[in-house]
Symmetry: C2
Subunit: 205 residues, 2 copies
């Protein structure tokens, strides 16, 4: 997802880290930003690695120390996202159901911007129109589904490969997608998760 250069981001990892880690994160961000900008300007396939490295003022080897393959430049929040997703389930406030926690997470994640977010739409369009990115994203989505399913299984004391957990994970990740483009995305998400919550509650209180 697009990460704007300015703007007060919620600072997801609120650890007062040293200069080293900050610099590392900075170069990583510089690379990802340069890459996304160029990709949006001229298309994924028309931009080479060297060009991106130049734009970010780094060597190509450095680039590959941060991103294992070209596609990862686009989905650079992959790991963060998965981490936050699992945390939303594992560290949910006491008395909150799993679907409720997932709804909360879906609503606060910036995948659901009330007004049609240009940057997000452009990003989704880039992915949808580039086969390599479509495939990569699809597999990434599958990985997240599996990880979430396992987390849910652990939280609810079910077997790790319980189909119900996988189904819930699947729907929970699908809901925000479906909501995008909807007149009132937040309402769509809320009602979708209401549905999931009732179904889930009927199975295992």
């Amino acid at each position: 997802m697009p990460s704007s250069t300015p703007g007060p981001a919620p600072d997801t990892t609120a650890a007062p880290v040293g200069r080293r880690e900050r610099k590392k994160a900075a170069t990583r961000k510089a690379i990802a930003d340069a890459a996304l900008r160029l990709f949006l300007e001229r298309g994924y396939d028309a931009v080479g690695i060297r060009e991106i490295a130049d734009a970010a003022d780094v060597s190509t080897t450095t680039l590959f120390k941060h991103f294992p393959v070209k596609e990862a430049l686009v989905f650079d929040e992959d790991d963060d996202q998965e981490e936050r997703l699992l945390a939303a389930v594992r560290e949910r406030p006491a008395g909150t159901s799993v679907p409720a926690a997932l709804r909360e997470h879906a609503l606060t994640s910036r995948l659901v911007t009330p007004n049609g977010d240009d940057r997000l739409t452009a990003f989704l369009n880039l992915v949808a129109t580039t086969p390599a990115l479509r495939d990569y994203g699809q597999n990434m989505w599958l990985r997240h589904t599996t990880a979430l399913a396992h987390a849910i299984a652990e939280e609810s004391g079910r077997p790790a490969d319980d189909p119900t957990c996988r189904a819930l994970a699947h729907f929970a990740l699908e809901a925000p997608r479906a909501a995008h483009g909807h007149p009132d995305p937040r309402a769509a998400i809320t009602s979708a998760f209401d549905l999931l919550e009732r179904g889930w509650g009927a199975l295992a209180g």
Copy 2:
């Protein structure tokens, strides 16, 4: 799937084609066979395109005229398989239900060999242990699911994106997988499809 060099294969395309097409198919097969052999011997990543081309006695250019990317060398029956799958549904004998036709197809496809087929197991193992192949295969499976879902929708006069059709397609493709390694695979498949058939019949005769 492995296609042995000798052995009387059922000759899937029973059209008396000209010499040109036969030669083309022959080189294609030579390439795929060489590739699979080398991959099984030394691992996917340890074998280069140039080496495969040499082993099949063709130029790398020719190789890429037959297979668009390296991974396709392994899943070389991709298109044929999908074609047969869709044909099984579309050209099923009158009075046969869709799930029944799919069961028939599943039982006759050589994915279900009664005795533990060494070559098939080796193949599946190769795919499972090679990330690039795992990913590629996963996406291929998804494509087949979509195609089958559309075919089912057309056959049963439902909307093209009907979730029920997609679910049936999903299960129908999953069943053979699940049956693999089962003590009696054919029985497992049969009973799985019995289940699907009853559920399907209960929805739309």
